[in-house]
Subunit: 153 residues, 2 copies
Amino acid sequence: MKMSQAVEQSLVVLIMLAVQQDNAPVKSHILSSRLEVSESYFKKTMRKLRIAGIVTAIASKEGGFKLARPLHQITLLDVYEAIEGEDSFIHSTQLADRIFKGSDELVKSGTKEVLAIIYDAEQAFKQKLADYTIADILSHIGEESIEAIDWRE
Amino acid sequence: MKMSQAVEQSLVVLIMLAVQQDNAPVKSHILSSRLEVSESYFKKTMRKLRIAGIVTAIASKEGGFKLARPLHQITLLDVYEAIEGEDSFIHSTQLADRIFKGSDELVKSGTKEVLAIIYDAEQAFKQKLADYTIADILSHIGEESIEAIDWRE
DNA sequence: TATTCGTGTATATTAATTATCTATGGATAT
DNA sequence: ATATCCATAGATAATTAATATACACGAATA
């Protein structure tokens, strides 16, 4: 069970935007070349972040992407769900239906319980992600070094 | 981020074995046909469960698979890890290295923090799975109906 | 009016999952 | 003994999702 690479890529981009002075917009080709992915692929990921209200896109000369909200209002769950969607880790019951077809109804309820437990575990995972924001990540970086960074150069 | 089908298949098989009277061994071809997968594929999954010490294989006429331990000693985490292994949801840092190469060391530590948070969330997920056993699932099934089931028929 | 994002489509590559078939060898109950 | 069934392994295939690129036209704006 692996998390999409795009989630990590997104988080790194957000860190980059977060340390950009004055939240000045940074161009696609600069960010994508830093990530070493094509601008085309990069924009597909950024689109998801934009739709989720995490970044703002500015179409203009001197345009680019910037953060849409303060750092402490962007949780890791926001980013995760923006990229991965809200699908559950498991989505089935079809299997249970196949197996217990013809046998006791009460056994079928056992698999329903399985789904409930996995859903419960999934919620625990997501709650942890919701507990942390980009600001928490940035708090591990020294103030001085942040002021010195301009990704547009 | 999706859980392997094999995890759900395994749980269903364990439920079937759990309600089998006297923990009598059930043959591969019976279980695999119930799951509607080939016996060959089914055995590959069962092998993982056997290596994890969850089921016992009996090679003999009147052989088959049975549970290796009491129901309450088989957690959902045991099953999950038997099938999915112990890989983390995210495994990288390579990306961080690529991006922050040439820029400040302190920024790199931001991505380390990201990995730590995701690992934390993953542990929360796994802890929930460890909190439940096959016995918990079975507790949702009436005693009477369990006594009536013989999967070997 | 040049620059840059927005959107959409088509396509390619890679990797993992899911799955089957076959075949040889080993354990054991009767 | 021998039939039955698991153990292991290798080759192969289908399906799906993730990852990725290229291209083209439209829209916003400094």
